[in-house]
Symmetry: C2
Subunit: 126 residues, 2 copies
Amino acid sequence: MNPIPEISEAEHQVMKIVWKDHPIPGMEIISELMKRTDWKPSTIKTFITRLMKKGALGYEKSGRGYSYFPLIEETDFVKNESRLFLKRIFGGSLKPMLATMVENEDISLEDVEELKRRILEKKKGE
Amino acid sequence: MNPIPEISEAEHQVMKIVWKDHPIPGMEIISELMKRTDWKPSTIKTFITRLMKKGALGYEKSGRGYSYFPLIEETDFVKNESRLFLKRIFGGSLKPMLATMVENEDISLEDVEELKRRILEKKKGE
DNA sequence: ATAAATGGTTTACACGTGTAGACATAAAGA
DNA sequence: TCTTTATGTCTACACGTGTAAACCATTTAT
């Protein structure tokens, strides 16, 4: 996986649309985002341009304009952000992070059982 | 807990020093941070000032200058950042987040057992 | 009392980000 | 073909952040 570029919050909104469905025409990105936000079309265009400059989006001709597609995988992005968060707030150690999350968010015993299964699965594969 | 102000990455470094030991003289914050970073004293002073403006640090006279202490709890900050992260990257749901973390970071079965104990403890207290 | 040192306050500047208008170009309709 | 319309590019600006020098006040040593 290529190094993930820095993606700002607003840009992330754009990426989420593109990850969901691509290649997607610029026009559709805009109308999709205008449902959820009160950004003007020019604002969204700026974000798309910036994402292309950052190497996060690629494009291809389609109809009157372009269609866009992701150049970075959502899973890679999520993995990267998670690592950064873990490092930034918990010095990189998972345990205190899990403790905090469990302390403050809703989680059931079944969820933990599932987690256990996952870990077993993973260890088996190694 | 009062609403947590936005604290930038560099400012967070300052907060970590102050959380560890307070009230702490400005001078000590500076020498402590100069060990870990290559920030100039003026840079660190800027961060301290901004944190005071944001209501994250308080101060009291001590010796020739001031000593500083946190106005927000580290646990509140961590809780807040965790929520924001969860919301931003995982739409607020804990389960996919845990799955990702477990998938990509090292975690042992014992850790999960401990997690289970914690949850039981918490549920008991409710 | 003056000078030096120590630490706090003001000012500065570049870069990313949120925000968006103005401008250009190409396609489509009259 | 000429005008309208849709879509992409350029320019703009304020605010936060990283970065730091310059300046000022207060204490301490000479």
